[in-house]
């Protein structure tokens, strides 16, 4: 049989060189309790992911890059911010690799580092939401949206106007609350938010 005419370079040569490093897997296991090594690459996570259409890395690629220790590439990925935490991947994973938890861990790392991320608005929305929680213990939608709009193009930008129209329509239907409510135990709240973000589990003896 005649050999097929084709480019003889192996496919891999186009890919950047990767030096596998197991440290990220060990850190993930230690700090967020996720066993990335359990993945055997069946890709069920990616077939079921409703948001894969908007991702730059498929869910299985996140796991594979993590196994290889490529934290830089993972931190640049949109995928971790596009994930809606719908839990379909974890639910269907035969090895119960908690990918949503691992991606939360990456997001928290990035938020603590304070550098740029590919989905700035999503990070900003989360931050403003937590500031709302910190100030009253409950979220007041009016102030949440107001703070977010001011931070993203001002109170009269096109996005803000669209949201203002929606807000007005909701107000007419009695779906906007005018005064925020707050919890009484402010001392507890202050003590909690006085701590730095410390969710990453530390190494234990």
């Amino acid at each position: 049989m005649e050999p097929r005419q084709q480019d003889e370079r192996p496919v891999e040569s186009a890919a950047p060189e990767i030096r596998p490093d197991g440290e990220l897997m060990r850190r993930a296991s230690r700090e967020c309790g996720v066993s990335l090594g359990a993945c055997y690459g069946c890709k069920k996570c990616s077939n079921g992911c409703p948001l894969s259409f908007a991702m730059d890395l498929h869910p299985y690629q996140v796991v594979r890059l993590a196994q290889l220790g490529q934290i830089g590439e993972l931190k640049r990925a949109r995928t971790i911010w596009v994930c809606a935490s719908c839990q379909t991947c974890l639910t269907r994973c035969p090895n119960q690799v908690d990918l949503p938890r691992f991606m939360d861990w990456l997001k928290q790392e990035l938020a603590m580092e304070g550098g740029p991320v590919p989905e700035e608005k999503t990070l900003l929305f989360h931050r403003i939401f937590l500031r709302e929680v910190a100030s009253r213990g409950r979220v007041f939608e009016g102030s949440l949206m107001g703070r977010y709009m001011l931070a993203t193009g001002g109170a009269f930008g096109p996005e803000a106007m669209k949201n203002a129209r929606l807000g007005l329509a909701m107000f007419r239907r009695g779906r906007l609350k005018l005064m925020p409510s707050r919890i009484r135990d402010r001392r507890w709240l202050r003590a909690l938010f006085a701590k730095p973000a410390h969710g990453q589990r530390e190494a234990r003896p």
Partner: protein
């Protein structure tokens, strides 16, 4: 009156007031007294688990500690709050030392709380029986699909849901209340949830798929048991339809609104008037206005 614990969550105080009113209405008709958790706080939601794991466990954990002193089960209408409370309970059970300093000082034991999602609570065999026996009118002619979303079902090791890929509670209840319930494969697909503010385009794509699937199967309305799903499906429907160049007219009910309607609650019409996609023309056509 039977007392149950109740954790409403932040949005039921505001944008989901219609949901809160219908829950209270139906509970009253069923002889249930909802005892709100004293001084409850936000569960931390998506922002909490995305950016600060320990605070999200502590925020949800405080609610559990407070709820432990109240009646059980603790009924939670918001699917995300439910999920965060259950997650915190699991985290606190295995790791009390470092995550829980803030919660440990509170009076109650988080592990004593029986956290129930409102949907599951209202669609137990006994509740379905109770509602059918109190039915004042049949929802005849109402062609519906039931949309369950993510957080009440997944992941099953946290939610404990026995039918996480194909839940049937709302289907069974609405069938017994006389509606025509249509089976469909998108019951537990994601609506995009918290992306609605920073990335509405993602929500539009996901919700657009739900509209397509519901319409293709002949549904004239969608029923949800989660106020985030309801908001994403109801608030932007006109915009999504315009963006995708096709008409969509699918009222999005809460389970409790339809239960209230079937049970003859006098305020049912008022709750329905708070929706963006007005369901009253459809109900009027079917002779179901209250």
């Amino acid at each position: 009156m039977t007392e149950v614990g109740y954790y409403p969550g932040c949005s039921l105080e505001a944008s989901a007031r219609d949901y809160a009113e219908s829950i209270e209405g139906v509970a009253g008709l069923l002889g249930l007294k909802l005892v709100e958790v004293e001084d409850w706080n936000c569960c931390g939601a998506s922002a909490g688990h995305s950016l600060d794991h320990a605070k999200s466990v502590n925020l949800a954990g405080r609610n559990l500690a407070l709820a432990a002193r109240g009646p059980q089960p603790l009924v939670v209408p918001c699917a995300l709050c439910f999920n965060r409370l259950k997650t915190a309970q699991a985290e606190l059970a295995q790791d009390r030392s470092e995550l829980v300093a803030e919660v440990a000082g509170l009076a109650g034991d988080p592990q004593q709380v029986q956290v129930r999602e409102l949907n599951g609570f209202l669609t137990s065999a006994e509740m379905i029986e109770a509602m059918e026996s109190r039915r004042k009118r049949s929802l005849t002619g109402l062609k519906l699909v039931c949309y369950y979303g993510c957080q009440g079902q997944r992941p099953p090791k946290i939610t404990g849901h026995p039918q996480y890929e194909n839940p049937t509670g709302m289907d069974r209840l609405l069938d017994r209340l006389g509606a025509t319930v249509i089976d469909w494969p998108a019951k537990t697909d994601c609506c995009g949830a918290s992306h609605s503010v920073p990335r509405p385009d993602l929500v539009f794509t996901l919700v657009g798929r739900l509209y397509d699937e519901a319409s293709r199967r002949g549904a004239e309305a969608i029923v949800t048991g989660c106020q985030m799903c309801q908001a994403n499906l109801d608030l932007y429907q006109v915009e999504i339809a315009a963006a995708q160049g096709r008409p969509v007219d699918l009222p999005v009910f809460y389970l409790t609104e339809l239960a209230g309607l079937a049970l003859g609650h006098p305020q049912a019409g008022r709750w329905l008037g708070r929706h963006m996609v007005d369901p009253r023309p459809l109900l009027a056509r079917l002779g179901l206005t209250s």
